[in-house]
């Protein structure tokens, strides 16, 4: 059986690494016309585990080095090469080409930030000029905690907005990977779609953000496949929803 990692342009260099699975096989490209699928052999009864997500991503990153790549979801398999050509590549060729064109020259970068919760709470408490509560007053403690939580959320949102505002001008698109709805949510989890040539400038912007906010722990990763930005709708076809729609509609995007 063939495990499918992603779709690239035909002739793109394949990453010289093994794919996932036990035993694993080398990653290779199956072409059909201008596009290709990156696959590797996998045992028929293979069950995907946590660690395979990492191997899957590694293959995508490898492909990304040489051109655009559209990620295929974890755990997708096809019985053989003919199936990959017909059912995967040929069945959605125009959309795939459009998708590749759409992300050609772009990479995804992740920026994550966290504050030190204890420090933030302390700062909020000091700004409020709070005094210790009677520890036996349960209701008052809950209310105080709730207000602290609300302020923490406000504080984090403000910081997140400020950071995104610093980085957004250097990106083509961006999206939240997680939002701040409660005090349990992280300060910033964001994905940016950035032109490859602009990555050094984005690096510089990250340095600026770090310098401006030494109190935050900021993590920065990439270039990654554009997983958060592959969201084009599959086809224009369903203008006339005929019976054949079901037959063709084996495709979806997210």
């Amino acid at each position: 059986m063939l495990y499918i990692y992603g779709v690239t342009r035909a002739g793109q260099k394949r990453p010289s690494i093994d794919g996932l699975g036990e035993p694993s096989g080398p990653v290779r490209l199956i072409d059909s016309g201008p596009i290709a699928a990156a696959v590797s052999e996998i045992p028929d009864d293979y069950v995907v585990h946590d660690e395979d997500a990492s191997a899957h991503l590694q293959v995508l990153i490898g492909l990304l080095g040489d051109g655009p790549v559209l990620p295929v979801r974890l755990g997708t398999v096809a019985p053989d090469e003919a199936a990959v050509r017909q059912d995967v590549l040929d069945a959605a060729r125009p959309q795939l080409i459009r998708g590749l064109d759409g992300v050609d020259g772009f990479v995804e970068l992740h920026v994550d930030a966290d504050d030190n919760e204890a420090d933030s709470i302390a700062a909020i408490a000091r700004a409020l000029n709070l005094r210790p509560l009677d520890p036996t007053d349960f209701a008052a403690r809950i209310q105080l905690g709730e207000e602290i939580a609300n302020l923490l959320v406000d504080y984090r949102r403000e910081l997140a907005e400020e950071m995104v505002a610093m980085l957004r001008p250097l990106s083509e698109r961006d999206t939240a990977r997680s939002s701040i709805n409660s005090a349990e949510d992280p300060l910033l989890r964001w994905a940016f779609l950035v032109a490859r040539k602009d990555v050094p400038r984005f690096d510089q912007a990250i340095v600026a953000v770090r310098t401006k906010h030494p109190e935050l722990s900021i993590r920065y990763a990439g270039p990654l496949p554009p997983s958060h930005f592959v969201d084009w709708q599959p086809a224009e076809s369903p203008s006339e929803p005929t019976d054949s729609f079901q037959a063709q509609g084996a495709w979806g995007w997210n």
């Binding site: 302390a122 939580a149 939002s179 349990e184 109190e215 722990s217 592959v230």
Partner: protein, 159 residues
């Protein structure tokens, strides 16, 4: 470059499993024609967006944190600055809001006071959280990781 500046420190890939799963688990092309292989051992955390429930546990934890602070009444001047007394009066919703609207302004103050600090213990926390998973919260980090992000932040409006 002779001056050692802070570097961008770009990692080639996310460090935490949750972030890796976020990239490959439910994003990208879906080919419904083929049954996906069974996925085993993948945390439910990443499979489903969970409803955010602001828990009482969290509130108590925060209140606890405040109480642990060495809050000296150094500006004890006009007694309590409203907040606690308002809270204790009950029906606090509105009053609290009022008391806290002044706090909105102090968010900047908070930010700057934090900025001027450099905590040594921050790194430990970071490692903890870089897994993308919960830190100390007992009641569930519920960021809808891996799902279509909720676009309710103000800044998204102008896109």
């Amino acid at each position: 470059m002779t001056v050692a500046v802070q570097s961008a420190n770009r990692a080639p890939r996310p460090s935490g499993l949750a972030d890796v799963l976020d990239l490959v688990l439910d994003k990208g092309i879906v080919i419904d024609a083929y049954v996906r292989l069974a996925l085993v051992g993948i945390e439910i955390l990443t499979l489903d967006a969970r409803i955010v429930i602001a828990s009482v546990d969290t509130y108590l934890r925060f209140a606890e944190a405040v109480n642990r602070l060495d809050l000296q009444p150094d500006q004890q001047a006009e007694g309590l600055p409203g907040l606690i007394s308002d809270l204790q009066e009950g029906g606090a919703k509105k009053k609290t809001k009022g008391a806290l609207s002044g706090v909105k302004d102090s968010a900047k103050e908070v930010a700057s006071s934090l900025r001027s600090r450099n905590d040594d213990d921050q790194d430990e926390d970071d490692d903890d959280s870089s897994s993308g998973r919960r830190r100390r919260a007992p009641a569930g980090r519920s960021a809808p990781r891996g799902r279509r992000p909720a676009r309710r932040r103000d800044e998204d409006d102008d896109e």
